[in-house]
């Protein structure tokens, strides 16, 4: 449903926000990653989004580690 809608929305996939997500997930080649990182460093809105995702990912990893150490 929603997913199909997003699936068809290629335009949405190309947004810088999606590109930043791909960057965070190691999906971009090194050359393009450099270009995008430069773009991020020049745009405070993109930089905020990048930092937000970076923090979220770090927290998720930490949460998972704790869960493995102290399983309920």
């Amino acid at each position: 449903m929603d997913e199909d809608k997003s699936e068809n929305s290629k335009k949405n996939d190309m947004s810088p926000y999606r590109e930043i997500e791909a960057l965070m997930d190691g999906e971009l080649d090194a050359t393009y990653a450099k270009v995008l990182l430069n773009k991020i460093s020049e745009d405070p809105v993109l930089e905020r989004h990048y930092n937000k995702l970076k923090k979220q990912k770090a927290l998720l990893k930490k949460w998972w580690e704790e869960r493995q150490k102290h399983p309920e």
Binding site: S6, E21, D25, D29, A30, K52, K57, L59, L60, W63
Partner: protein
């Protein structure tokens, strides 16, 4: 000799730049490649035989530089690895840390199974989109969109 070679190389510069653009994928890369070639040509000036074609000689240096860089990149830098930067991300000291982790725990428990699953597979376990798409039997585009919505939902729940 150096002065002459330097002067002659400057004369060959437009041709070298054009060749660099043919090899490189961006203007910046082409510029870097040209600079590196000039530096290498001057370093190896003794090997240049006067009276021979300087462009042929220097473009060979350029081509070899490009090929070695390309091999190095495909061997070591095919994908940008964000992990070192994520590891560097500071998380607050322990007391606030545990509050934030409790926050993550609550939010993750409120997420749908699909969202939780995709966040665990990609953000925590580091699987590639393609691999997750195969594992879940869904298109890569669906992986991207589901992941994006899961991130947003998690962020909203935590804030």
């Amino acid at each position: 000799m150096t002065i002459f070679l330097h002067q002659e190389l400057i004369e060959e510069l437009p041709k070298l730049k054009r060749f660099a653009h043919k090899l490189s994928s961006s203007n910046a890369d082409a510029e870097d490649l040209t600079q590196t070639t000039i530096a290498k040509a001057l370093e190896k000036k003794e090997l240049f035989q006067e009276g021979t074609d300087l462009f042929k000689w220097s473009s060979k240096i350029m081509y070899n530089t490009f090929v070695s860089d390309y091999r190095r990149k495909t061997k070591f830098e095919t994908k940008y690895d964000p992990e070192p930067y994520i590891e560097k991300q500071s998380i607050e000291p322990s007391q606030e840390d545990s509050v934030e982790l409790k926050n993550v725990d609550d939010a993750m428990n409120k997420l749908s199974w699909e969202f939780r699953e995709i966040l665990i597979l990609i953000c925590i376990k580091g699987f590639k989109y393609k691999h997750v798409a195969e594992k879940l039997d869904i298109p890569v585009g669906t992986v991207r969109s589901r992941l994006s919505r899961a991130r947003e939902k998690l962020y909203n729940l935590m804030n």
